[in-house]
Symmetry: C2
Subunit: 329 residues, 2 copies
């Protein structure tokens, strides 16, 4: 197993990406890690560490987080992310991990690694937090803004296989993000998707409302990229300010500070619940090889977890299974 | 001014609806309130109270909250909501308030009171909570599931006029709910709406992301009913469980209970921030007369506030101004 890691993408790149790669290389000696980025910088963070399964592949350009994705991928032929994607396309690596520009990674996946045959639109599939910490795979959360019902059907199939293979969930429950739980609710797209999902080879449990998401009403939530993005950001945009106000409330007087000290462990637990980072990276499903988008703020632990995730996906033949299921339609 | 009030709609109907009407009738002797519902029940809650400007209009049917809207409005000709809407259509009342079935109220508005000339789709426009308590009018949040860019343009115009007239905000800022702040972000619909809004006679401030909504980035947020519903319910579905978990964390031991006692005022304040009920009812904009949807859990205070809101809208000639602006296009 060979995994190409974009060493230059993410808020803490290359330092924590390199550190995470070192930890992963130590943990899994059978996995070859290719750190793609500026050789001198990556080397500096390796701090003389030499592991037989950790290699540097030089790439001198970097795609920044605010760059226009398509332009960046087309122009920066020597960007770490682009070089890493080429390693996968040319058969020199089996999977690609990056904490860099999400749009650029989707573009590199599409243009360089390529769409799986039979898949119309690949999907970005992060785990959403749930109150019971189980989490829920949601797709698509931003790869495809104008989804058709047929795309949602493919998301359901790919998401179900992912949950089975990577998370070991047998017969994962698939829900459709909608404005009500009754079958005929929604817009034209969601109504048509509902009908397709009912006839699909997945365990479809019906419509799911945005207000119930934290209670984990399903294991795989399908939605168009626009609505999915609104859902995810509304959740972040509510939890964040609420926790901030709460912190403020705890600092108002010495008495509330005392209360804050007492409540510290409970509050930390609550904050962790809402932190979707600890669920690992988001796979980009529907490409010819495995591509995992790690959170922009990934630290060493997140990188190591993403390697673990990629290893499981490869061991369980995730991509091959999806390809077989899709081509069988 | 005559306001028809659906006495039988809402979780606390008719008791708290009647009580709210009594308080409103006392406060504003110049406003005639028509309580529409089962005469004997309404009378019982009037408890012998007799006010010259408070009248009962008998209607013996009730539309329940889980009934299919169109069917219910068509079949139950004698439902309190339907009779109240007829009072408005026939010129016996100037506005309609209801805390009942939202879909049925929209249907009654469309079928009985009628769409304003030039308006393609009326919009449900509740206030969303914001951290600074100012609130933000959002439309459409559920009246129209398959919105076109032109509908969003009309929402922007109607919402701006509402904020100016009813809330006294000069030149209210209009934002477009989208997946990113850059102009070319989004799906086909939002991109086309962006262009229309840029050329519109409103103070358009650009795209607004779901994660920023609580910070009040604008005074009027326009969106299609599907995305708007996802936004609203994701906010509710995050704040609710978080506050619940927090309450749980405070009850774990005598020490955390002590902390809870200390924090009580701060927590109550936080909960109130997220409670969009205190912003009054949601107008249904784009109809021939004023229709206000009060929250299902409305108490007497909420009903009284909705009467206040309706009075301001009528005093400032909200409907006439919208009609003029729309017909002028």
């Amino acid at each position: 197993m060979r995994i190409a890691i974009d060493a230059m993408g993410g808020d803490h790149a290359p330092e924590l990406i390199v550190q995470g790669a070192i930890e992963a290389a130590r943990e899994w000696p059978d996995t070859r890690l290719l750190l793609v980025g500026r050789e001198d910088e990556v080397k500096a963070y390796l701090k003389g560490e030499s592991l037989p399964n950790l290699e540097i592949i030089h790439a001198d350009e970097i795609i920044e987080s605010d760059e226009e994705p398509v332009k960046a991928v087309r122009r920066k032929k020597n960007a770490s992310m682009v070089v890493a994607a080429r390693l996968v396309r040319e058969g020199n690596a089996d999977a690609l991990l990056s904490a860099g520009n999400t749009g650029a990674l989707m573009t590199a996946g599409l243009l360089i690694i390529g769409r799986m045959e039979g898949i119309e639109r690949p999907a970005l599939a992060p785990m959403l937090p749930t109150m019971d910490d189980g989490g829920m795979l949601a797709l698509d959360l931003g790869a495809n803004m104008d989804a058709k019902p047929e795309h949602l059907l493919q998301y359901a199939i790919m998401g179900s296989i992912y949950r089975e293979k990577v998370h070991g969930i047998a017969g994962p429950r698939v829900g459709l993000l909608n404005v009500g739980t009754e079958p005929m609710k929604g817009n034209e797209m969601s109504k048509a998707a509902f009908e397709l999902l009912q006839a699909a080879p997945v365990h479809f449990v019906g419509n799911v409302e945005a207000r119930d998401v934290l209670e984990r009403p399903c294991d795989v939530l399908v939605c168009d990229g626009f609505a999915g993005n609104i859902l995810l950001k509304a959740m972040e945009g509510t939890a964040g300010p609420l926790m901030k106000e709460l912190r403020k409330a705890f600092t108002r007087s010495w008495l509330t500070k005392l209360a804050g000290a007492i409540m510290m462990p409970g509050l930390r637990q609550l904050r962790n619940k809402m932190d979707y980072k600890h669920h690992g990276g988001a796979p980009l499903l529907g490409l010819n090889s495995l591509v995992v988008k790690c959170h922009g703020s990934s630290d060493a632990m997140a990188v190591k977890n993403a390697v673990r995730q990629a290893r499981i996906a490869m061991e369980t033949q995730l991509i091959e299974t999806i390809a077989k299921e899709i081509s069988g339609k």
